[in-house]
């Protein structure tokens, strides 16, 4: 099947036509390879994105020239490493427009960020009978830490429902907020469906009830510009590896006054001002939450990734990805027996689908033999899969280095899957 009948959004957005995807692809050395004798078509970007040479080189340069521990060495290397590490914090501050660099806490990723808030803010503020509000489309990382907290405290996790298209039902969400609610935590863009949640409205609902609002931005940070001050959210988290940086580094943004009032999450070096066996005084922000030697190379790599993304521009990235998504939706919709899962009006870069009579796992294996990398399974959103009545989906997730030709390859690959299954 040819996907020639696809929407040509590019005809309307002429600027996107100037998006030079060939030169962008040249920045990502991993893309230029054969898999099972076919050119790699990497469509698993929601799981992790590939890394441009700029990121790989920055980390290699750090280990080659500057490697040392930070914040305590008096020597030249330590000074250089500390400077680069702290420069990355300022880059992150700019990336999400935080008011202060001390509001940027480096963590391993969104999972650790949410665990930090649940363990520190949550344990200090949530009591028996209290409630925490999430949505039905959360990733396990935005479910389980709250469940653990609720179990410990005798609190209750409330789940706001979605409709069949995979959109949050905002009125029902608001009706679940009550005097027992202590915190709201919501995903910005769903990893399984691509749904973009109305987080501005959610923050306003939270603040009308004097509740802190946490946003899981794992899928949003690579697709859309984030302005935490304009948004007004209390916490925002994203992972480096989904925004073209390395694994093992991520960011928790928190408003300074809230972070200041929170107890530390982990104890150890770097997070202290002074220690005696009788009493320890904690360090100031952001170090209070960064115990132990951090992921220095990863942080520097994340800084390089932010530079790279900024250089292309998130607005152009988002526009190009929207165009690819429209093309993909149109192309996949023409395949008989294919059902798209998640058809929210506001949606980003995710094509989740099921094929009639064919399990997604089998789809994934056959596509792999065509050189096409997708994710199959429940995408760490088992309650969501149950709500939508599917055991699993196949998910192609897009990045700005993908092309319409690659979506055509996906369509051809799906046709091949259907041939194998007769």
């Amino acid at each position: 099947m040819k996907a020639k009948g696809g929407l040509l959004a590019s005809e309307k957005t002429t600027d996107a036509l100037h998006f030079d995807v060939d030169s962008i692809r040249a920045d990502f050395p991993i893309l230029n390879q054969m898999v099972h004798g076919k050119p790699l078509v990497y469509l698993d970007n929601a799981a992790t994105s590939q890394k441009p040479s700029a990121v790989i080189d920055a980390m290699s340069r750090y280990y080659t020239a500057d490697n040392s521990n930070i914040h305590r060495g008096v020597h030249q290397l330590s000074e250089r490493a500390t400077k680069e590490y702290e420069e990355a914090r300022v880059k992150v501050q700019g990336f999400i427009n935080a008011a202060h660099s001390k509001e940027i806490i480096f963590v391993r990723g969104v999972t650790e960020a949410i665990n930090l808030v649940a363990n520190s803010y949550g344990r200090a503020n949530v009591k028996a009978g209290d409630e925490i509000l999430i949505t039905a489309m959360e990733h396990h990382s935005n479910i389980v830490p709250w469940q653990m907290l609720c179990e410990e405290k005798g609190a209750r996790l409330r789940v706001a429902p979605i409709n069949d298209k995979g959109e949050l039902i905002l009125e029902e969400f608001e009706s679940l907020v009550n005097e027992r609610t202590r915190l709201i935590s919501v995903v910005h863009i769903s990893n399984a469906l691509g749904t973009i949640n109305p987080i501005q409205a959610i923050v306003e609902i939270g603040h009308r009830h004097n509740l802190p609002v946490m946003i899981d931005g794992a899928q949003a940070a690579p697709h859309t510009a984030i302005d935490v001050q304009e948004l007004g959210c209390d916490f925002y988290a994203f992972s480096g590896h989904k925004v073209y940086g390395p694994t093992g580094i991520g960011v928790l943004y928190g408003k300074a006054d809230i972070l200041d009032a929170m107890p530390p999450y982990q104890g150890g070096g770097d997070m202290i001002a002074s220690v005696t066996f009788e009493k320890t005084t904690y360090n100031t922000l952001p170090y209070k939450f960064e115990a132990g030697t951090p992921n220095i190379a990863g942080t520097i790599g994340l800084g390089a990734a932010i530079d790279y993304v900024n250089q292309i521009g998130l607005e152009r990235i988002g526009r190009y990805e929207d165009e690819l998504l429209a093309y993909g939706v149109a192309a996949l919709s023409q395949i008989p027996g294919l059902r798209l899962i998640g058809t929210a009006k506001e949606k980003a870069g995710i094509l989740s689908f099921v094929l009639e009579g064919i399990h997604p796992h089998d789809t994934g294996t056959i596509l792999d033999r065509e050189g096409i990398a997708i994710r199959t399974g429940h995408h760490c959103t088992m309650p969501l899969m149950e709500r939508l009545g599917v055991p699993a989906t196949a998910r192609a997730s897009l990045s700005f280095y993908n092309t319409k030709q690659e979506i055509d390859s996906l369509v051809a690959g799906i046709t091949r899957v259907k041939e194998v299954f007769g």
């Binding site: 399990h359 796992h361 089998d362 056959i366 033999r369 088992m382 699993a392 299954f421």
Partner: protein
């Protein structure tokens, strides 16, 4: 594409589409549930033992073509086998799908030999063995939910 054809042989596709013994048993001696958290495959195995012999065996659940066909062909193969024979088959089958044994030198495999192609797809071994691990749990009666992880 030959390895793909080896994996999805006609017999596997047939059992994947129309699984045999796909029902609960009325009065099972043993049941066990198995689960593959990687892909969400679920299986429940029902066994009716007559002394030391598998009188009847069936399954329910949801999964990919490989895991469904494996469970289906397993139930067909096991009826009338003794507990010891079933145990031997489990190990022979496991060796087959993990590529530790050529299919031809194990005639007792019968139809199960159709799963030899799985060994070229290490990530799919868990799909092929889920029903077997669950069967063992049912026969050994430890009653725990089996996970492939």
């Amino acid at each position: 594409m030959t390895d793909l054809q080896d994996l999805y042989q006609e017999l596997i596709l047939d059992h994947g589409r129309r699984p045999r013994n796909f029902k609960p048993l009325d009065a099972p001696s043993r049941t066990a549930e198995g689960y593959n958290p990687l892909c969400g495959d679920k299986v429940k195995i029902y066994v009716k033992m007559d002394d030391d012999v598998v009188e009847d065996v069936s399954f329910e659940g949801s999964g990919c073509a490989i895991s469904t066909a494996s469970a289906s062909i397993m139930t067909e193969t096991l009826k009338g086998k003794t507990r010891a024979e079933a145990e031997v088959l489990f190990h022979t089958f496991h060796d087959l799908v993990t590529g530790q044994q050529a299919q031809l030198d194990a005639p007792e495999l019968g139809k199960l030999a159709v799963f030899s192609g799985v060994s070229e797809f290490p990530i799919r071994v868990k799909c092929a063995t889920l029903a077997w691990h669950t069967l063992r749990a049912a026969m050994n009666g430890d009653g725990e939910v089996i996970s492939t992880e």
